[in-house]
C-alpha cells in the first residue's frame, strides 16, 4: 500500500468527505550516483563560498533572490513560512465545470483520493453525481506547502484529483510561426482523413513501453553479472565463419531484388539526383576500367 500524502477532507457546500490523498503515478527513472572514474569513489557535493573560499554548512545558507545583477534580497525560513498557505489538508471545491471545457494542456499530475470509512457513502454519491452530470469539480488543494488548483474527476470506482497548471504557467503559442490562415485543398483533406481513418484503433497504453529504461536496465544487469554489454553487433547472431556470412548476404541480396522487381535496379533511390550531378569536371575523366557487369 502506498502511503497517504495527507489525511483530510473534500469540502463543498456544507458537505465534508474525509479522504486520504494517495499517489497515482509511479516514477520509474533509474537513479545513478556520480563516481570518480579512476577509483569509483562517490562524489561529494561541496558548497563553497565564492567570497571567502570556505566550505559552508547548510545552517549557514540563506536564499537570495537576484532582483538586479549582483543585488540580492535575502529570505530566511521564517519569511517562507509567512507566505506559506495554511496547510489545510482539504480539497476545497470552488466550482463545477464541463470536463470538455478544460484544455488538456492544463492537466499536470493525478492523485487518488481514498475515502475514510465514515466517508464512503458521500464519496460514492459525489462520484456518481459527477459521472452522471459529465462535470468535474475545480478545487483548491495544498500539497507539500504549495497551493494548487486541481480537477476532481470520477475514474472507475475512484475519485481522482488532477493537479493543474495555473494559466500563467502555460506558454503562449503566439510567438510560434504557425500556419493559421492556411486552408488545405479539399482533396488533400480527403487523403489525410483517409490516412487517419486507416490508422485509427483503440488506444491501448500498455502497447507502449519505456524501452530506453529497459535497455539501460539490461545493460546494467549484464555488467553486474560480468557479461559483455549487449551492443547490437554482439547481440546479432554470431557469424562463426565467412561461409555463413556469405549465405546471409546472398539471402539479403535475393530478398532486396525481389522487392525491387525483376530488373534488379533500385527504384527507390536516385543515385544521380541532387548536387551529385554538379561535380566540377576539371579534366576529362578516364573511361572506367571495368564496365558495369550485368547483374
Amino acid at each position: 500500500m502506498a502511503h497517504a500524502i495527507w489525511t483530510g477532507a473534500i469540502n463543498f457546500g456544507l458537505v465534508t468527505i474525509p479522504v486520504r490523498l494517495q499517489t497515482a503515478i509511479r516514477t520509474n527513472d533509474l537513479r545513478f550516483n556520480f563516481l570518480h572514474k579512476a577509483d569509483e569513489g562517490r562524489i561529494n557535493n561541496v558548497r563553497r563560498c565564492s567570497v571567502d573560499g570556505q566550505d559552508v554548512s547548510y545552517d549557514e545558507i540563506v536564499r537570495g533572490y537576484e532582483y538586479e545583477k549582483g543585488q540580492y534580497v535575502i529570505l530566511d525560513d521564517e519569511d517562507f513560512k509567512r507566505v506559506n498557505p495554511e496547510a489545510t489538508q482539504s480539497v476545497d471545491i470552488v466550482q463545477f465545470v464541463e470536463l470538455g471545457e478544460i484544455d488538456p494542456m492544463y492537466f499536470d499530475k493525478p492523485y487518488y483520493l481514498e475515502p475514510e470509512k465514515r466517508g464512503r457513502h458521500a464519496y460514492a454519491l459525489l462520484r456518481e453525481a459527477l459521472r452522471t452530470s459529465g462535470k468535474v469539480g475545480i478545487a483548491k488543494v495544498v500539497i507539500r506547502s504549495r497551493e494548487h488548483i486541481a480537477a476532481l474527476k470520477p475514474n472507475g470506482d475512484a475519485l481522482v484529483l488532477e493537479l493543474m497548471h495555473y494559466a500563467d504557467e502555460i506558454v503562449d503559442a503566439a510567438h510560434l510561426e504557425l500556419p493559421a490562415s492556411e486552408k488545405p485543398a479539399e482533396n488533400e483533406m480527403k487523403v489525410a482523413q483517409m490516412l487517419i481513418d486507416t490508422m485509427t484503433e483503440a488506444f491501448d497504453p500498455t502497447q507502449f513501453r519505456d524501452t530506453y529504461r529497459e535497455e539501460l536496465l539490461a545493460m546494467i544487469e549484464a555488467r553486474a553479472a560480468g557479461k559483455e554489454v549487449p551492443s547490437p553487433e554482439v547481440a546479432a547472431p554470431r557469424r562463426d565463419n565467412v561461409v555463413n556470412l556469405m549465405d546471409v548476404l546472398q539471402k539479403s541480396l535475393e530478398q532486396s531484388r525481389q522487392s525491387r522487381g525483376p530488373d534488379g535496379a533500385a527504384t527507390s533511390y536516385d543515385a544521380k539526383s541532387g548536387a551529385a550531378r554538379e561535380r566540377p569536371d576539371e579534366k576529362p575523366k578516364k573511361q572506367s576500367r571495368r564496365k558495369k557487369s550485368a547483374a
Binding site: D210, T211, Y212, E215, L216, M219, V229, S231, P232, E233, R239, D240, N241, V242, V243, L245, M246, V248, L249, Q250, S252, L253, S256, A265, A266, Y269, D270, A271, K272, S273, G274, A275, A276, E278, R279, P280, E282, K283, K285, K286, S288, R289, R290, K292, S293, A295
Partner: protein
Amino acid sequence: MSRAAAQTVDVDGRTLTLSNRDKVLWPQDGYTKADLVAYYRTVAPYMLPHLAARPLTLQRYPDGIGGQSFFEKNAPRFLPAWVPTVTVTSEFGRHETVRFASAAPRTVRFILCNDEATLVYVANLAAIVLHVWTSRDGSLDVPDFLFFDLDPHDGCTLATLGKVALALRDALTEIGLRALVKSSGGSGLHVIVPLAPEYDYDFCKGFAELVARALHARLPDRTTLQRMPARRPLGTVYLDYVQVGRGKTMVAPYSVRARDGAPVSMPLEWSEVEAMARKRAAGTEGEFGRFSVKNVPPLLRKRGDLWSEAGQDGQRLEPALALARTAFAAASNAAER
C-alpha cells in the same frame, strides 16, 4: 591587430568575410587560419568532387589544435542562405553503439560542400578536419563506397601496415573489386571500394565484415578485429570495418588533420604502399607526416587526383559475392576464433 585581420574575399561571385585570419591554429608550425583557408582553396578543384552532395561533419578548433575542439553536424544557425544543406532524420540520437528505440527522432541539417565558396566558409569556421558520409544526397541510404580503416596498433611497423593494406587490395582484386587507398592523415590507411549506390548499409556492412574476416583469416598474426584497443595484440593492424553505416563518416580525402605539422589525408598510389611494405621504419606516422598543407598543393599539381575515379566506376557486389565463394573458401576453413 585582429581588426586588420578581417578581410572580404570573392569566391565564384560570393562575398565572404574572413575573420581572425591571423589566428594561429598550429602553434608549433605557426600556421594560421589564413593558411588553412588558402590550403583548402588551392586543393578545392581536387577535393570538391569527393565532398559534393555528402553530408558534412565539421571538426572545429576555434582555439587551434591544442584547444577545445568539437564536432558539428548541425549547420550553424547563421549559415548563409546560399550554402546548400540536407536535413536528415536520425533515429538514434547521439547513441551510436547502443540503439535506444525510444530515443526521439531528431533532425540534423548537414552542410553539403558542393562549391569552393562553401569550402572557404567552413575553413573560416576553423573547421580543420572535414568528415563526410559514405553516401550522397539523393541516395543517402545506399553508400557509394565501402570503407576500411586500417589502424595500426601499438608496435605495428610501417611494413606490417603496408603488407596488410596490400593483402586487402589483393583479396578485393580476387573477387573483382578495385580499391583506392589514402593516408588517414594520422597513423593509418584508409581503403575504399567504389560502389554502385544500390546496396543498403546493412548489406555493405555485412560485405565489409566478410572481407575483413577473410583477410584476418589469411593474416591472423598481423591483423585484429578486436574493437577494444586494450585487447588488441601488439604489432597488429586493426581492421575497422564497422565504419560503414548511416551517419558514419570518413575523413575526406585532402582533409587536414589537427596534428603538429598539419598533415593531410592523402590519396596514394598502390606503388607507394608497396614501397612502404619494404621500409624498415618502426612507426607509421613519420611516413604520412610528409603529406602536409605545405607540400600537398605542389604534389597535387604534379600528379592530379589519384581518386578521380571514385564515384565514377560504380562496382557491383553480386559478382563479387559469387567470386568470394571460391576465393575466400580457404579462409572459411581456417581457424576462426
